[in-house]
């Protein structure tokens, strides 16, 4: 599998020195070249094997799950960031999970997993959607663009540049969703789409995108750090570059 560019948090730690340890039976092998993601996966596996050691709980859970949880897999071809990938997926897999867990595209983030926070926002056929509420199978045949697909090589997109220029984030977790959302916002503004603020402010002919409009049109993306003033400034700047006056 092709690895996408990593974010800072996912950068691999330097390789450990010393001889490689032989794999011991029973405990999952933890690779000596640790990545944060790899560590979390190994730790999860250890947790699961400990849980399996509790016979009553495990038996009850197995009995309950056997009746309702026989996963059904389907082959699917997805087009993501211009590349075609063939996957065999559990029918329940959301687009967000397919991107993160099956394709290694971990830029799109899982916040609430219920369509309430916008951290998972990606573009499907150019339109912003919540990938956590989109079944992966339902977007076979669509063009999907994620945060990893916005830059051209080392050249950031105008929205990415604007977020960097205005410091439009603090912890950065919501940022990929904010940037995908803002990218779509600019296209929507170009085509004259309305918002409820357009109606309230009687701004109906190709509405001028005021700060009030930006706030409304970005309302599907929550920032828990509260970087909103800088996000609005970034979107304002990107709009200035992207929308012909």
């Amino acid at each position: 599998m092709k690895h996408p560019p990593c974010s800072i948090a996912e950068l691999e730690a330097p390789a450990a020195t010393g001889p490689e340890q032989p794999e011991t039976s029973g405990a999952p092998a933890v690779p000596l070249t640790l990545s944060r993601r790899g560590f979390m996966k190994s730790a999860g596996a250890i947790g699961a094997s400990m849980a399996a050691g509790l016979p009553q709980l495990a038996a009850a859970q197995a009995a309950r799950e056997a009746t309702t949880t026989v996963p059904k897999h389907t082959d699917v071809t997805l087009r993501v960031n211009g590349e075609t990938t063939q996957l065999s997926l559990d029918t329940r897999t959301t687009l967000l999970d397919a991107l993160r867990e099956n394709m290694g595209l971990t830029g799109s983030k899982k916040g609430c997993d219920h369509g309430q926070c916008g951290a998972c926002t990606v573009l499907v056929d150019g339109r912003r959607v919540n990938s956590c509420l989109t079944l992966a199978l339902s977007v076979a045949g669509s063009e999907i663009t994620t945060i990893e697909g916005l830059a051209k090589g080392d050249d950031l997109s105008p929205v990415q540049e604007a977020f960097a220029e205005h410091d439009g984030f603090q912890c950065g977790y919501c940022t990929p969703g904010q940037i995908c959302s803002a990218t779509a916002l600019i296209d929507e503004a170009k085509s004259g789409e309305l918002s409820q603020v357009s109606w309230r402010s009687a701004n109906l002919q190709r509405p001028q995108i005021t700060d009030d409009e930006i706030r409304e049109r970005m309302s599907g993306n929550i920032c828990r750090c509260g970087a909103y003033p800088n996000i609005v400034a970034a979107v304002r700047t990107a709009l200035g570059k992207g929308v012909p006056s």
């Binding site: 309702t68 949880t69 026989v70 996963p71 059904k72 389907t74 559990d90 029918t91 329940r92 959301t94 997993d113 219920h114 369509g115 916008g118 926002t121 339109r127 912003r128 959607v129 919540n130 509420l133 989109t134 079944l135 199978l137 339902s138 045949g141 959302s181 779509a184 916002l185 929507e188 004259g192 789409e193 309305l194 918002s195 409820q196 357009s198 109606w199 309230r200 402010s201 009687a202 701004n203 109906l204 706030r215 409304e216 049109r217 309302s219 599907g220 993306n221």
Partner: protein, 341 residues
Amino acid sequence: MIPFDYERADSTQSAVKSIGTRGAKFLGGGTNLIDLMKLNVERPSTLIDVTRLELTRIETSTSGGLLIGALVRNSDLANHPQVVANFPLLSQALLSGASPQLRNMATTGGNLLQRTRCYYFTDTAFPACNKRIPGSGCAAILGFNRIHAILGQSDEGPRSPHSCIATNPSDMNVALAALDATVHVESVSGKRNIPLSKFHRLPGTTPNLDTNLKPDELITAIELPPSPFAKNSWYLKVRDRQSYAFALVSVAAGLEMDGSTIKSACLALGGVAHKPWRSPEAEKALAGARPTRESFLHAADLALSGAKGYAGNAFKIQLAKQSIVRAFTLAARGTTAGAEA
């Protein structure tokens, strides 16, 4: 989420044929269904994905109104030039709902079937919910009921198998109720049209049923008759934050003016009942009246005359009255005059 079979329908005929599978459901935008499946509230055995069907057109109907395909996305519908010009209530209502991302996903047909946001319905840890488990009671009556009904509810006490004080959360449905929409549906046994007023149900003795749509029927379109309210209408939504929240109370208000007299009016409320709450009494009182604060207050009193509140939502009775006055006041100013200053 329990495992399910997934099929993509390639025609309306094949879709309605497949829905015969026991426990099957149609998948539209998925914004509500997938969410409820993650919560184990919805547990379909099969999903029939209808999103690629050719039900995406908006066209002038034979009566001169509008025929809206069931798969038109909410954002496309809100921005369609004919909707903006002739059915502004619908555009305003749609743009008041959810977020840009969700409006890009949500379909017209799916929005009609949006389920209640009652906390006791969406959380399976609560044992009492007549909508989720018929006969189990209603935890909302003595619980947190800020977002619950004040009109048309079934309340025979928290233990009754009939009680339900849930509300319909949709904004679109409120505008469609005010605009006298008709729902077109199809099944293997044929086609039929259901007036919107008869599409959604009050809880009555069967709160598990939200609508009169049969389990094997597919919504294919919504039809709007020509509307006399385009020049003077307003959709007012009042909620706990300015955007991206469900209504505590919403009002779809329209006036057909004849000089300085109201010729006819439409009024529907959201967030207050198990279905969009149309008020024929208020509409009747406004016909022939002057568009004054007194007229609107009188209409508001009539619309809320049977209201009953609970510990967490009694404030909504007064809030609804004032929202009705405000919505009609803005409608009288003109749909394109805005709501500022």
